[in-house]
Symmetry: C2
Subunit: 291 residues, 2 copies
């Protein structure tokens, strides 16, 4: 970390060799130590309000749309018949908000380990937490790993792993036992997506998770994709799509339907072209994942 | 700027609200004040050697391929018959290196205002400057604006504006008079590309340049595209493609030929899929450019 960056007015993410910093207005809007982590909300100058855990940026009001729209609408619009969804993590509410844009969805179960994240978002991130009281939402405070171990077979059309970095409480969300359970709980045509870090930063998380999912799902049913997220280190962020059945992430897309949805919902990042383009990986990323 | 970041070991780019920092090994490999700017080369930990002007990152060994491959091969492989190329800026040599991968090219003219940039690259960035002595290269030290004012009509198949930020010596490379000259000097089927900053950072440069080019070239012949560049602020960088004739940037692509080229040349970022995908803009970028 950049030891002498002024932590009173700058949030910094990164490691010992690179750093990404956002200036904020000094005072914390929210600050509470949970059993898991220090949860804070700041008012930044460039990106609106920022949610952090242990000082690391989880999301900002200005660019959270890229993350939440792309982790949700890519599988939703590939599948087209999603009724029942499970979200592991995602206590800020952004993922739930995007899922509930789809009228066919009948229920969403959110399992967030840290009630303080939900509280912070409810109080200070109203555009993210706007649907956390929705009647279709089953909001559970608990361990996603335990939840999925006890969940019934073939229950969900879509499972979204909206985790923080694979350190601290989210570590168990990056291993094979967990994803075996995810697959078991998916309906035969079910899909999953997970955030999978940056090809430039924590790249072993992306490669390990890709290999892990290829060993669980069939190899040609695992598809990493990329999104620009300026407030995450390096700005290049990855997600992984995996299908239990044969729903292909772009061959199965009804482009006209996807585009009409994006326009009707006034999405900020996702559109039908971006859905397809996100799977076109630069050659060095392809090589990283085939190694 | 982050006032108290340790400038002895960190390079920082950004503005008063966001910052992107790369740690280096302390000593400058190269440092010389030119008539235009302070030119330096550092050895960083995460991205290899870094060329800076006035303390801002121009390119790094680790991620320069994204920039240089995408500013060059997109127009080259759309056009497919490029013989004569003009590069304004680009004294590090990376753009020339990529152009000369295409055997049909007969001559490249590079006009770089700052001989010290070329000297720094020749001495300390051998992978970038590797073709600066090539027999097809006409290397001129001079003002690109003056050069193009005096150049003959319809001379080049491709003109690449490989400028630094639109402050300091590159300011005149972001205005209408300059691009009117660029169009004049293109052959009837000629193409141009220019780096055009980030939609998240200096976004007015991108919007102004897009509108400027649409007023010069026909509107449907101007196509912004996006590339992931982790060492530039926000990681999301744009280029603009403009065609004097009707060569369309992706409808005119021979995908098989483009992919074969990328593989033969062992490119690190560009491939035929990425060529197409780069033009799929997130909705907020589309809106920014249509405003």
């Amino acid at each position: 970390m950049v030891a002498n960056l002024d932590t009173q007015t700058w949030l910094t993410d990164g490691d010992k060799n690179i750093a990404f910093s956002i200036r904020h207005q000094g005072k914390r809007l929210f600050q509470q130590q949970s059993p898991y982590q220090l949860v804070e909300v700041f008012e930044s100058y460039a990106y609106g309000r920022v949610l952090t855990v242990d000082g690391l940026v989880m999301c900002t009001e200005a660019d959270e749309h890229a993350y939440h729209e792309m982790i949700v609408h890519v599988p939703m619009l590939a599948h087209r018949q999603v009724r029942k969804v499970l979200v592991i993590g995602g206590g800020d509410g952004g993922t739930v908000r995007e899922i509930l844009r789809h009228p066919k969805v009948e229920s969403v179960t959110l399992v967030e380990i840290d009630a303080v994240v939900i509280e912070a978002s409810r109080q200070y991130l109203p555009t993210l937490s706007s649907t956390l009281n929705h009647e279709k939402l089953n909001l559970l405070i608990g361990d996603g790993i335990e939840y999925i171990q006890q969940a019934s077979d073939e229950t969900f059309d879509l499972i979204i792993v909206d985790s923080s970095d694979p350190i601290g409480p989210a570590q168990g969300l990056f291993n094979k036992d967990f994803f075996l359970q995810v697959k078991r709980c998916l309906r035969p045509n079910g899909l999953m997506t997970a955030q999978s870090e940056s090809p430039w930063f924590h790249s072993e998380s992306l490669t390990d998770l890709t290999h892990c999912l290829r060993s669980i799902f069939e190899g040609d049913r695992v598809h990493p994709y990329l999104v620009f997220i300026p407030t995450y280190p390096t700005g290049m962020w990855s997600f992984i799509y995996a299908a239990k059945g044969d729903i292909h992430p772009w061959q199965n897309l009804d482009r006209a339907q996807a585009q009409a949805f994006a326009e009707r919902e006034s999405l900020q990042y996702y559109n039908a072209d971006v859905h397809l383009a996100a799977f076109s990986l630069p050659t060095f990323v392809r090589k990283l994942l085939s190694a």
